[in-house]
């Protein structure tokens, strides 16, 4: 526990930090093999945490468990002061509205404009048709969506159909949608994975800069060593469903990390 706190404090410099996420003994089994075998870690406010691990090590499952897109088999998750496992459907919706998620595949709605897609982020706090299409949205909401698009550098593409944009631009629209949510924590599942190296780096830099500007906690599943080292404050490594590495990025050894990017089965240190 001390080691964890040290890592968090080091990363955030002199800013006082507190835990925003505490996971203890998280187990997830899909009936067959157990994917997560008692995962425990803590994340601190304003700290960028990279989760690394080989394919099949349980990274994505861990992320889905955090917002209960899949229910954990056992264990406890406390995020933003709430016991995630005990939330009922309504409370879970309210809770999810505070967590921004950026997916590996941008998961935007095709055939509609970039602006409408960004506007969907408001659905966490505003229901009804005014949050479905940009033309039906109240002026302040439209303005906020435009501001979010401007922050990712795509204000000029607002009315363009989102499926006509490049992969990198689509991922930036997805980030703008996440900003529209006004999240307190951002979870990102390999946001650079389906992009070419340059676009991937641009997206990671953008995400990292925005999180820093807004003081957001960022939890990124990362699959590129260089991005992990450049854009995180702390790194945890998953191997065989367990955390086998927890280190401040500044103190991490590239050779030690490299094992987590290898083929499945070779990631166990």
């Amino acid at each position: 526990m001390n080691a964890l706190q040290t890592a968090g404090t080091v990363a955030a410099g002199s800013t006082p930090v507190g835990p925003v996420l505490h996971v203890s003994d998280l187990v997830k089994s899909y009936g067959g093999p157990t994917v997560l075998k008692g995962v425990s870690f803590t994340a601190y406010a304003g700290v960028s945490l990279a989760v690394i691990g080989a394919n099949g090590s349980g990274k994505s499952t861990l992320l889905k468990c955090l917002i209960r897109l899949t229910d954990p088999t056992s264990g406890r998750i406390e995020m933003l002061g709430q016991e995630v496992g005990t939330l009922n459907a309504r409370a879970l919706r309210r809770f999810r509205s505070r967590i921004g998620v950026v997916w590996q595949k941008h998961n935007l709605v095709p055939r509609i404009s970039a602006l409408s897609n960004v506007l969907h982020g408001v659905q966490s706090r505003l229901g009804g048709p005014q949050s479905w299409w940009h033309w039906a949205a109240p002026a302040p909401v439209r303005a906020e969506a435009m501001a979010c698009l401007a922050r990712v550098g795509l204000a000029d593409k607002a009315l363009q159909r989102v499926d006509s944009l490049s992969g990198g631009q689509q991922q930036r629209v997805a980030i703008a949608r996440m900003l529209m949510q006004r999240p307190e924590i951002v979870l990102a599942d390999e946001p650079d994975a389906s992009l070419d190296p340059q676009s991937g780096e641009d997206v990671m830099r953008l995400l990292s800069d925005l999180a820093r500007q807004d003081g957001l906690t960022l939890i990124v599943i990362s699959h590129r060593l260089e991005h992990t080292l450049e854009f995180s404050d702390r790194i945890i490594g998953l191997a065989g469903g367990q955390i086998t590495l927890d280190v401040a990025t500044g103190k991490a050894d590239a050779g030690q990390l490299r094992r987590f990017f290898d083929k499945p089965g070779e990631g166990t240190p």
Binding site: R94, R96, R111, G127
Partner: protein, 266 residues
């Protein structure tokens, strides 16, 4: 010279069950034809009557155009019935389809019930629905519109549900993760993704509705069908031909128009 390789057997060995299956199918086809198809003799006599100098075909030509304006008005009524029936059917098909879709239905029992109802609406022919609604609302176009509506709920409900089942789940999951409501997910993620498929289905429903509406008059549910029936009953075959030709023009026009719209939109 290469060694001769024995050719494979011409026929594969089949099991007794397979032979039995073949015999049953042949028996079904033969008995069906024997019991229901016309005999050669009656076909021959019918053809003679058809082409005789004072026969059916001769009486049809030339088509009687004296009541073209009346027929045109009735045709317009038929088209209006078709449009009204299709529009109402499509509107009501959407909620039925949502309830019948795996990921969107609130409960498996509701999903099962919605699917059952859609299948029921689709299975019963629209002429039977027309007879049913004539009993409910009386003779006339209203019964026809209701019959077409029910038929289209069955038709479009199924295809709408299939389109929603096949829609990419990624955007839906993304909105669910944001904390969006079920309605929010349906309207902002599912419908836009399904729009091309919905449009195609709606246009097919309209075409089907136009073809169906022409026949509904035969049982008294409004539209041109009743004029066709009267023309046949009174042996006014030349007027019947006019009606058939004008119906043909309407159906072809609607089909062409709908293919044009489909090509433009999708």
């Amino acid at each position: 010279m290469t060694a001769s390789i024995p050719a494979p057997p011409r026929f594969q060995h089949r099991s007794l069950t397979e032979y039995l299956g073949i015999v049953v199918v042949i028996a079904l086809v033969v008995t069906s034809i024997a019991n229901t198809a016309p005999s050669l003799d009656s076909l021959q006599r019918g053809l003679v009557r058809l082409v005789a100098p004072s026969g059916f075909l001769a009486q049809m030509f030339p088509p009687d155009l004296s009541r073209v304006d009346h027929i045109a008005w009735k045709l317009l009524e038929t088209l209006q019935m078709a449009v009204a029936g299709a529009a109402l059917g499509l509107v009501f098909a959407v909620p039925f389809a949502i309830l019948a879709t795996d990921r969107l239905s609130p409960h498996p029992v509701i999903k099962f019930a919605a699917r059952g109802l859609i299948a029921f609406f689709r299975t019963v022919p629209d002429l039977v629905w027309a007879i049913f609604f004539i009993i409910v609302v009386g003779l006339g176009p209203a019964a026809g519109v209701l019959a077409l509506m029910i038929d289209k709920i069955g038709f479009a409900g199924r295809f709408f549900a299939e389109a929603m089942e096949e829609a990419d789940t990624g955007p839906q999951d993304a909105l669910r993760a944001i904390g969006a409501s079920r309605m929010g997910i349906i309207f902002s993620a599912v419908f836009p993704a399904c729009l091309p498929s919905f449009t195609a289905t709606s246009l097919f429903a309209l075409e089907k509705s136009v073809r169906g509406s022409a026949a509904l008059g035969l049982v008294g549910a409004g539209g041109i069908g009743v004029d066709l029936k009267v023309a046949f009953d009174l042996f006014n075959y030349d007027e019947a031909l006019t009606i058939i030709l004008m119906m043909l023009i309407l159906v072809v026009a609607v089909e062409q128009g709908s293919s044009w719209i489909r090509a433009k939109l999708i």
